[in-house]
C-alpha cells in the first residue's frame, strides 16, 4: 500500500478506473484540507484527481494482452503525415473518419451515404465550402506536399470565411464538430494546410488548448506548428533577440570571416538548437550551406570535427514502453513471495554478496542504504528471494537504471546512455531476441552474458547511478515522444550503414530485424556528441 505511484499516492486509493471512487477520495481529502493554508497541496490534489480521471478515460491497455511484451512506436516524419500512418497508429484513439462532414450529422460530402437530410441554405453553403477545402488540400484526391498557389490560397481563405461564419451561427455542437474536423483535416494535410491554420486558430482559439492534458491530438501537432509560425514571424523583426542570427543563417552561401565576427556564435547555436528541437519545419527557411558553414566552424572550435553534416531530415519518434516488468514487481512486493523471505531469511552475508554482484566489490547493503535509502528499500525484498530467473535483482536494477531518465540530471543521463550502449552490444552478441528485449526495456528472464570486463564497467556505472539517487524512482507508464534532430539522423545513418528507408522502417517497427542495429548506431551517435543532443532524446532513448 505504501508504494502507490502518483496520482494514487496523493488520493490515497489503489489504482482504479472507477470515477466515482476517484471523486470520493478527492472530496474526502478536500473536506479535510484548509485550502488557503495548503495551496501547493491543493494544486497537487487537483492534479492527482485530474490525472486519475483522465487515465480512467484512456482505453484499457490490459485488455490487449499481446501488448504486454510489445513496444509500440510511432514515427511521424514531418511533412509526411499520410493517412496510412494515422490509421495504423489509431492516432486519436477512435476510428475517426477524416472526411467527416463539418456538421458531423450530414452525409459525407465526398462519398454520400444514405438519404441527404434537408439542409438549410447556410448549411449548404458551408458544405460547398468544406468540399472546396477538401479539393484544395487534397489536389486530385491525393495528399500533396506542394504549397497552394495564390489562386488556391484566395479560394481557400474565402472558403474558410464561409466555414467560420457558419461555425459562429451554428449550435455549439456543430461548432465543435466543425472545429474538430478542420483541426484533423489541417493536421493531415500539413504542410499544404499551413496558410489556413492561423485563421482557424483565430476563430476557434486553438492555441488556448496548447499544453493541456486534454489537448486534442491533431491540435497537439498543429499548435506546435502554429507556435513555429509565430516564432518565424517574430524572429524576422529586428526587435527579436535572435533576429541577427536568423538573418545571418538565411543568407545564401558560406559564412565569411566577417560574418563570424559580426554575429555571436552563441546566438546562432541557440537559434539552431532551438528551432531543431521545437520547430524543425522552419529549417527550410535557412540556407543549408550557410548553416553548415557555421556548424563546421562550431566543430572546429570544439575539436576535431567530422565531415560536413547536412540537416534536412528530422524524425519524431514516439515510443510507448509498457512497464510490465515493474508492475509485476510491485505485486511481488505485497504478494505471496514476501512471507517466504521471512521463512528462509538469507543471512546478511548472502545479501551483501548479492549486492556486491550488482554494484561491485566493496559495496554492501549498508553502503546501498547509505547512498539511497529508497533504492535499498525496493531492493531488499528482491535480494531476500530465493533464486529466480524470472526477475533477478540485477535485472531489476537494470530496469530501474533505464527508467531513471525521468528524474536524472545531465550526468546521470550520460551514464544511463553508456549503460544502454553496453547492454545493447552485449545483447546483440548473444542473440537478436536479447537485443530486442533491451530495446524494449524488458529485462525479465534475460541473461546478457557480460564478460568480466563488461561486468566491472556495468558495476561502476550502476554505482554512479546509485549515488545519484535515481534508482529508487518508479517511472511513469506510458508514452515518451521525442524528435531526433537531423544531424543525429545523419550520423545514425552513417554508423548503421543502413539505407535511409530501412532506418526509418526500423524506427517504425520495433520487431524489425534492423531495430537493434539502428538503436546501437543511435546510442553511439549520441555518445559521440552528448552535449549537442537535446535532453529529450537522452531521456527518450
Amino acid at each position: 500500500m505504501s508504494r502507490r505511484a502518483f496520482p494514487w499516492s496523493r488520493l490515497g486509493i489503489d489504482p482504479t478506473k472507477d470515477k466515482a471512487a476517484i471523486r470520493k477520495a478527492y472530496a474526502d481529502i478536500l473536506r479535510a484540507t484548509n485550502l488557503d493554508e495548503d495551496i501547493a497541496g491543493y494544486a497537487e490534489l487537483r492534479r492527482a484527481r485530474d490525472l486519475a480521471l483522465w487515465q480512467a478515460d484512456q482505453p484499457d491497455r490490459d485488455e490487449t494482452p499481446v501488448l504486454l511484451e510489445e513496444v509500440e512506436s510511432e514515427l511521424v516524419g514531418l511533412g509526411s503525415l499520410d493517412d496510412d500512418d494515422w490509421d495504423e497508429d489509431g492516432w486519436d484513439g477512435d476510428d475517426y473518419v477524416w472526411d467527416d462532414s463539418p456538421a458531423g450529422q450530414h452525409p459525407d460530402p465526398v462519398t454520400p451515404v444514405g438519404p441527404a437530410p434537408e439542409l438549410t441554405e447556410a448549411q449548404q453553403r458551408a458544405q460547398a465550402a468544406w468540399s472546396r477545402m477538401l479539393e484544395l488540400l487534397y489536389p486530385d484526391g491525393e495528399k500533396s506536399d506542394a504549397a497552394v498557389t495564390h489562386e488556391e490560397l484566395d479560394e481557400g481563405l474565402a472558403a474558410m470565411d464561409v466555414l467560420i461564419a457558419r461555425a459562429e451561427e451554428a449550435d455549439l455542437q456543430e461548432h465543435d464538430a466543425l472545429d474538430t474536423a478542420l483541426a484533423d483535416l489541417f493536421a493531415r494535410t500539413w504542410p499544404r494546410s499551413a496558410p489556413f491554420v492561423e485563421p482557424a486558430n483565430v476563430a476557434f482559439h486553438w492555441l488556448d488548448e496548447a499544453g493541456a492534458l486534454e489537448e486534442r491530438y491533431s491540435l497537439r501537432f498543429l499548435n506546435d506548428r502554429l507556435k513555429g509560425m509565430r516564432f518565424h514571424e517574430k524572429v524576422q523583426m529586428p526587435a527579436h533577440p535572435l533576429n541577427k542570427a536568423w538573418v545571418e543563417l538565411s543568407r545564401p552561401g558560406r559564412a565569411r570571416f566577417v560574418d563570424r565576427l559580426r554575429i555571436k556564435r552563441l546566438e546562432v547555436h541557440k537559434l539552431l538548437t532551438g528551432i531543431r528541437q521545437r520547430y524543425p519545419e522552419l529549417e527550410v527557411h535557412l540556407d543549408p550551406e550557410r548553416v553548415a558553414s557555421w556548424e563546421v566552424a562550431a566543430k572546429d572550435k570544439n575539436g576535431p570535427g567530422s565531415a560536413l553534416v547536412r540537416i534536412l531530415l528530422v524524425i519524431f519518434v514516439v515510443v510507448v514502453v509498457l512497464r510490465g516488468c515493474l508492475a509485476d514487481m510491485r505485486d511481488d512486493d505485497n504478494g505471496a513471495l514476501v512471507p517466504s523471505v521471512l521463512e528462509q531469511g538469507p543471512s546478511a552475508e548472502e545479501i551483501d554478496a548479492r549486492v556486491a554482484e550488482i554494484f561491485g566489490k566493496g559495496t554492501d547493503m549498508a553502503a546501498v542504504d547509505a547512498a539511497d535509502a529508497d533504492s535499498a528499500d525496493a531492493l531488499r525484498p528482491l535480494l531476500g528471494m530465493p533464486d529466480n530467473k524470472f526477475l533477478t535483482p540485477i535485472n531489476y536494477v537494470r530496469r530501474q537504471a533505464l527508467g531513471s531518465a525521468e528524474i536524472a540530471d545531465a550526468n546521470a543521463l550520460a551514464v544511463r546512455v553508456d549503460l544502454k550502449a553496453l547492454w545493447l552490444t552485449a545483447a546483440r552478441r548473444k542473440s537478436a531476441e536479447a537485443c530486442g528485449a533491451v530495446v524494449r526495456g524488458n529485462f525479465r528472464d534475460l541473461d546478457l552474458g557480460l564478460t568480466e570486463k563488461e561486468k566491472a564497467r556495468e558495476q561502476a556505472l550502476l554505482r554512479q547511478l546509485l549515488s545519484a539517487k535515481v534508482l529508487g524512482h518508479t517511472p511513469k507508464e506510458g508514452e515518451t515522444r521525442y524528435a531526433i534532430p537531423g544531424w543525429l539522423v545523419e550520423d545514425t545513418l552513417k554508423r548503421s550503414g543502413l539505407p535511409e528507408k530501412r532506418l526509418v522502417a526500423a524506427l517504425r517497427d520495433p520487431k524489425s530485424a534492423d531495430r537493434c542495429t539502428v538503436e546501437i548506431a543511435l546510442v553511439e551517435a549520441v555518445r559521440a556528441a552528448p552535449s549537442r543532443v537535446p535532453d529529450e532524446v537522452l531521456k527518450g532513448l
Binding site: D28, L35, L172, H205
Partner: protein, 574 residues
Amino acid sequence: MTFGMLVGIDLGTTNSAVALWKDGAPQLVPNALGHELTPSAVSLAKGGQTWVGQAALDRMATHPADTVTSFKRMMGTASTVTLAGTTLTPEDLSAMVLRSLADDVEAATGERPTEAVITVPAYFNERQRRATRRAGEIAGLEVKRLINEPTAAALAFGLADRGDREPFLVFDLGGGTFDVSIVEMFDGIVEVRASAGDNRLGGDDFDEALVKLVEPMLAEAGGAALDTLRADSRRALLTLAAERTRRALTTSDEADFTVVADSVPVTVRISTEAFEEAAATLIKRLRDPVIRALRDCHTDVKTLSDIVLVGGATRMPVVRKALTRMFGRFPNSTVHPDHAVALGAAIQAGLLSGGDGLEEIRITDVAPFTLGVNTATRDAQGRFHDDIFAPIIERNTPVPVSRMERFHTLGDNQRQVTFAIYQGEARDVKKNVKLGELTVPVPPRPAGEVSVDVRFTYDTSGLLDVDVAVPETGLTRNLVIVDEEDRRSQKDIEARRKALEKLKVHPRDEAENVAMLARAERAYEGFTGHIREVIGQGLTEFQGALEKQDPRIIADARDALGRLLDEIDTHSPL
C-alpha cells in the same frame, strides 16, 4: 461560528436582494413594501432627503436628474454622480442600497446584521471587487467573502436536492453583467470548472438597443416634443419606456413603445422580429464566453447536464431563443432568475457561519481572468518596449493558487526592476487592467545575469498577494495589492459613512407611503386627459389622508390609491 449576524446579499445592477440561512434553508427577507427585490436605485432631493429602492425608481420619471440606477456598472471606476447637489461615488450609492437591505433584515429579525457575503459578477475585475467590498464597509457591514454570482446561483440550484450532478452551465445575464460558469457537483463538492463573461453586457444594453431602434420611428410618429426635453429627462423617459416594452415583449409578439412628452403621448408599435434584429449584435456577444468557458475546462457541450438560466434578462424570449439555438436544446428555468443569487449568497453565509446541514458542502472556484506582470524587451534601436503581458496565473486556474515566474534584468548594471501587475487577456498590457506596481533594487551586473522571482498568490477570497525575491541578494518584497481607493484609510471609510448618515432616509414605517406617492406622481406625469385627472384626484386624497396622521385612514387611502393605479396599469389605454 461568528458573533455578529451574517447575511447573503445579491447586489445587482437592476435589483438587489438579501437572504439569511435559517433553519437549514436559505430564506429571502422582504423589504418594507413586502417585496423580495429592492430596485438598485437611489434618488435625492435638495436638503438631503433620500429615496432608495422602488420609490427612487418611481422618481426616475419625475426627477431624472436627481435619480440614478445601474450604478453597479460604474463600480471600480473613478466616476461619480451628483444628485441634487450631493456628489456620490458608485460605492456610496451601493452602500445606500446595502444599508436599506440591512434595515429590512433588522426589521424582520430584530437584529442588525454586521457581516455579509456579497455577490459579484464572476467577471468582475479586482478593482470592481474591491469597490464592492468598500461599499459593504461604508454600509457598516464586514464583508466576509465576495462570491461569484453564477457560483451562488449554482449553489442554489444544486443544493435543492443535494444529488451529484454532471457538469452544468450557469448562464447569468443580469441587468448589466453577463457570466457563464461551468459547475459540477459530486460528494458535496461544488466545483466551478471555468468561468467567462462580459462585465459590460446586460439587460440595460437591450433597452439601449430598443431605444436606438425606436428613436427614428418616434420622430416620424410626431414625437417632436421629445426633442424639447432636457437630455437626461429624455434619456430617462426613453429608457423607462424601453424597459416596459421589453417586458411586454416577453409575453406577446408585439408591444407598444409609448412616451409622454409635454403631455403628448407618442406611440410606436414594435414587433418581436424588429427587436430581435436590433439586438442581434448583443445576442452574438453571448456566444463567445460560452465557448471560452467550455473550452477552458475541456467540456463537450453534449455532456452538459443542464443549462441553468439566472438573471432577469434571461426572461427575454429573444435570449431564450438564441440559447435554444446555441445549445440545440431547451434551457432549464427551474430556479427563480431573480432570487437564486441571493439564496446562494445565503448558503455561502451559512457555510461560513457553520450553519446546520452544510457540514459536508465545500465550494471550489476559479480565477476568472489571467493575472501577470509586464515584461520588457529592447528593439534593434535600443528602445525599450515594456508593454508585453507575461501571465503568471492563467485564467480558470482553481483558487487558491500560488505560482512563480523568474525574470531577468534587461540592461547592463541595471539597479532596479519595476513590475506592474496586470489583469486581463490581452497581450498588450495597455489593454488590461493595472492593479499595482512594485520596485525592487538589484545588484549591478551585465544584462540578464540577475534573476528576480515573482510569486503570485491568489486566495479563496480573491485577494492577490505578490512576493518578489532576488535570489542573489536574498532580498524579498511583499505587496498585497491595494489600489488608490483602497489606500484611503479606514478613517476615510468612517467619514464616508458619517456623510451618508446625514442624508435623511424616510422612517421605515413611512416607506410604503413614500413609495406610493412616488408611484402616483410618476403615473400622473405618464398620462394625459381624463386619466391624469383621476390620478390627480387620488393623489390629493392620499395627501389629505397623510396629513390626518391616523394610520388607519392612511392605510385605507393608500390601498385605494394602489388599487386605482393597478387598475390603470392593467387596463392602460395607451
